[in-house]
């Protein structure tokens, strides 16, 4: 199989989704953990650690959605109606989460309410994103280039499990980010949260990994048949190694490394997802080639990506660099 533009585009979209998951993942994770931080200094530190970057992080979601629309329009047109209530709930969750960044400072009298909106919005967005993932993996009824199921098909024990898995995973990203960016009592609290989030994430990851091959014989094939198993088996092995490092690092009170190790777990999860789904974009009815935009659209966009992506990564990196270091108790001086 030679590499064609459709495969390149599948990797670009996967990269965009991965970038979103890890970057907005820690924002949403902080939102999920927010109620456990003390009102005042601890919460303000947590909020300040992401205030300058959350908007850029969320833009990757627009790239994921917009990119899917552009590169695989048929997949976009099938997946969104199939997960309709989840998508709407996610968007509304993100509305509450996003405005809370500004509103909580504009209205000290109702700060408790906007803190709740920040946290609730983050939780809903994370849960629904995980459930959308589960709904795609468990399969979507397709007929005649369109979704052909009912509007509750997405609600199953499996999707609830994947939803909780993503909530726990984001919480892990959020807590390890806070370990890196805060100090004092907020950091102590973040270390405690990291332990819990880590255990929850690993247990749910294990549960999803065991459940998925049972959903469909094809998943079983992709994971356990020769020669796939030789590659696929590396994924759980590496995950176990990273998990062990995470526990060790937590005891040693590592800082930035804990966050980077958590990213490693997500990267392996993404690779595992690739093993399960490839080459389908809607398992098992639409492959990436079925859904792909025509060559001219792919080429036109690839030129844009090739020119802009290095710039985007450069100035995004610069923006993170500007706000590097501990967030401090006094905000940015």
């Amino acid at each position: 199989m030679s590499i064609d533009l459709t495969m390149i585009w599948a990797f670009i979209i996967a990269f965009g989704i991965f970038a979103y998951v890890v970057m907005d993942g820690f924002d949403l994770g902080i939102g999920i953990l927010f109620p456990s931080f003390a009102v005042g200094e601890e919460r303000d530190q947590a909020m300040n650690s992401i205030a300058p970057v959350w908007d850029g992080n969320e833009t990757w979601l627009v790239l994921g959605g917009g990119g899917l629309f552009a590169a695989f329009p048929l997949a976009y047109a099938i997946i969104l109606p199939a997960t309709y209530p989840l998508v709407i709930a996610m968007l509304l969750g993100l509305v509450f989460r996003g405005v809370a960044f500004e509103f909580r400072w504009r209205d000290p009298g109702h700060r408790a309410f906007w803190d709740m909106a920040f946290s609730g919005g983050s939780l809903v967005a994370a849960l629904t994103q995980g459930m959308i993932l589960g709904a795609i993996l468990q399969g979507i009824t397709v007929a005649d280039r369109a979704y052909a199921g009912s509007w509750w098909d997405w609600l199953t024990p499996y999707t609830l499990l994947t939803g909780l898995g993503v909530v726990a995973g984001y919480a892990l990203l959020g807590s390890t980010w806070l370990v890196w960016k805060t100090e004092g009592s907020a950091q102590d609290h973040a270390y405690r949260l990291t332990l819990r989030a880590m255990i929850a994430t690993l247990l749910l990851l294990l549960a999803v990994s065991l459940y998925t091959p049972l959903l469909d014989a094809k998943y079983w094939q992709r994971w356990f048949a020769m020669p796939n198993v030789l590659f696929a088996a590396q994924v759980p092995v590496l995950t176990a190694i990273i998990a062990a490092l995470l526990f060790w690092g937590l005891r040693m009170r590592w800082e930035a490394s804990l966050f980077l190790l958590s990213l490693g777990i997500f990267l392996l999860g993404m690779i595992g997802l690739g093993v399960s789904m490839w080459p389908y974009v809607v398992p098992d009815s639409v492959t990436i080639w079925d859904a792909a935009a025509p060559l001219r659209s792919q080429v036109f966009m690839l030129i844009g990506v090739a020119i802009t992506m290095p710039l985007i990564l450069a100035y995004t990196g610069w923006a993170y660099w500007v706000f590097r270091g501990k967030v401090g108790k006094e905000g940015y001086h």
């Binding site: 303000d44 205030a51 300058p52 908007d55 850029g56 969320e58 833009t59 979601l61 627009v62 790239l63 959605g65 917009g66 990119g67 629309f69 552009a70 590169a71 329009p73 048929l74 976009y76 047109a77 969104l80 109606p81 309709y84 998508v87 709407i88 968007l91 509450f96 989460r97 996003g98 405005v99 960044f101 500004e102 509103f103 909580r104 400072w105 504009r106 000290p108 280039r145 369109a146 979704y147 052909a148 509007w151 935009a293 025509p294 001219r296 659209s297 036109f300 966009m301 844009g304 990506v305 985007i312 100035y315 923006a319 500007v322 706000f323 108790k329 006094e330 905000g331 940015y332 001086h333």
Partner: protein, 481 residues
């Protein structure tokens, strides 16, 4: 609930609702980002603290408006797939790439530099900070470029081929797609509209504070700048709108017939109907007040030029007339009111009474929201005028929607209505509260005022308390305006 409702109609209401709400914020933030860039440039060039004070004043407002624009915009990028999946499948190969370019060249740019613009002055220094402000302003404008190209392609599709599977496929040249026939006109008209919208908000805020204190130098400066914009740009906008209308007449004559209320053809000169009640059932305008031949003069520059009416168009292709007819009159009326205020301000300037004429200030205050109303009205004219098609003349709205049950669409519509009014209503109230605070010089030696950091609310605890009280005391004077 909704079991017997029409899923298509609910989907249309949902899109109209979410896009109208969303449009309000970029219409304001496109102009405001540029205004902030101008203020910062003037500050860097002249070193006058006045400009920096104004920059910080409007930066707080920008931050709140921009956040609302972002979250309501993300909804839009998914509405195409959730509610218009057939349209997305068919038109995706052509318009999808344009929207991807919007993300790559505009959204990342504005979002990437926003953090530095809001919180980074002390960390990066004046020059880099100014570049960040410029990048945010450029991002908002580039975003308008791409999304209006998409919208224009739906109005005047060009440069495509039809695929065997019913998809619109790109032809040889993306240039033909991006620069489709209505795009240059729509882009100019819409971007100017965004600048005017901002100018009238800034003018109204300046006027409000002049009414309270004529000596306020900051209020004077912002009022004067806004009135220059009104006087210079409103006439340009009327001209640009006229050009856009002529372009529409060429490519979407049915839309112009609806705007004019011309159910019947006029072989020797068509009247301009100033007001009346379009009656689509009887195909006539009831109680019409007409200026004979005026429509032919405007559209053809010849009083006796024949103009075709909706009677030349198959009935199933008629756009709704009443909504388009009235929205058009609201937009044009407000455009001329803006021009009038601009001219009035020139007279006031000439007579040396720009800051001493309370009636002018009251008029400017009343005109504060006029840009938003005009923008939404214009949007209604062009979008409702495109009906009954999503891709004009080629793909019907009725054949574009997702295969969803009415209860799903209805329930989500209710959720959007409830959340948007609650969240954006509150946000608008916060904006008005910020605008009510009198703009003033920062206190000498008050180090808490050195950067926009605190002003954007990033500073926790004690510093926040220091910065806020003078504002709160002003804000407690009443509600809203």
């Amino acid at each position: 609930m909704f079991e017997n409702a029409d899923a298509l109609l609910l989907a249309r209401i949902q899109f109209a609702f979410t896009v109208s709400f969303h449009f309000i914020f970029p219409a304001f933030s496109i102009g405001l980002a540029s205004y902030l860039a101008v203020l910062e440039a003037l500050w860097l060039k002249t070193g006058k603290a006045l400009y920096f004070d104004l920059f910080k004043y409007w930066l707080k407002i920008f931050a709140v408006a921009f956040a609302m624009g972002v979250v309501s915009g993300i909804v839009m990028s998914y509405q195409f797939g959730t509610n218009w999946s057939v349209f997305s499948d068919k038109a995706g190969p052509v318009i999808g790439p344009l929207m991807a370019y919007e993300v790559l060249t505009a959204f990342f740019l504005e979002a990437g530099f926003l953090g530095v613009m809001l919180f980074g002055l002390e960390r990066v220094g004046k020059k880099l900070h100014f570049i960040a402000t410029l990048m945010v302003a450029a991002g908002t404008a580039v975003s308008a470029f791409w999304i209006l190209s998409v919208n224009s392609w739906m109005q005047t599709p060009a440069g495509f081929e039809m695929g065997a599977n019913g998809q619109f496929l790109p032809g040889d040249s993306w240039w033909d797609i991006v620069f489709n026939p209505s795009f240059p006109f729509r882009l100019v008209h819409t971007v100017i509209a965004a600048y005017l919208t901002t100018a009238f908000v800034v003018g109204a805020v300046g006027a409000w504070h002049l009414l309270k204190d004529r000596q306020n130098a900051h209020a004077r400066k912002m009022f004067s700048m806004a009135m220059w914009m009104a006087a210079l740009v409103a006439p340009i906008q009327i001209f640009a709108g006229d050009m856009h209308g002529l372009n529409t007449l060429e490519h979407q004559p049915a839309k112009v017939m609806a705007m004019e209320g011309h159910y019947q053809s006029h072989p020797d000169g068509a009247p301009f109907i100033v007001a009346g009640i379009p009656n689509s059932k009887e195909q006539r305008v009831d109680y019409a007040i007409e200026i004979p031949k005026a429509s032919s003069i405007i559209l053809k520059h010849d009083p006796n030029a024949p103009l075709a009416g909706l009677d030349t168009i198959p009935k199933e292709d008629h756009p709704p007339v009443g909504v388009v007819f009235w929205a058009f009159r609201i937009m044009v009326g407000l455009g001329f009111a803006m021009l009038g205020l601009g001219l009035w301000s020139l007279i006031a300037r000439w007579r040396g009474r720009l800051y001493e004429w309370p009636v002018l200030h009251k008029a400017a205050l009343v005109m504060g929201p006029s840009g938003f109303v005009a923008v939404i009205a214009g949007w209604i004219v062009t979008e409702v005028g495109r009906q009954p098609f999503t891709v004009y003349g080629l793909l019907r709205t009725a054949q574009s929607a997702s295969p969803l049950d009415a209860p799903a669409v209805g329930a989500s519509l209710l959720a959007f209505i409830f959340v948007y009014f609650a969240v954006f209503g509150t946000g608008t109230w916060y904006l008005l509260r910020l605008m009510k605070v009198a703009p003033k010089a920062q206190l000498e030696g008050d180090e808490t005022q050195e950067g926009p950091i605190r002003s954007a609310g990033i500073t926790p605890g004690p510093a926040q308390k220091q910065a806020i009280p003078p504002q709160d005391s002003a804000a407690d004077g009443g509600d809203g305006q």
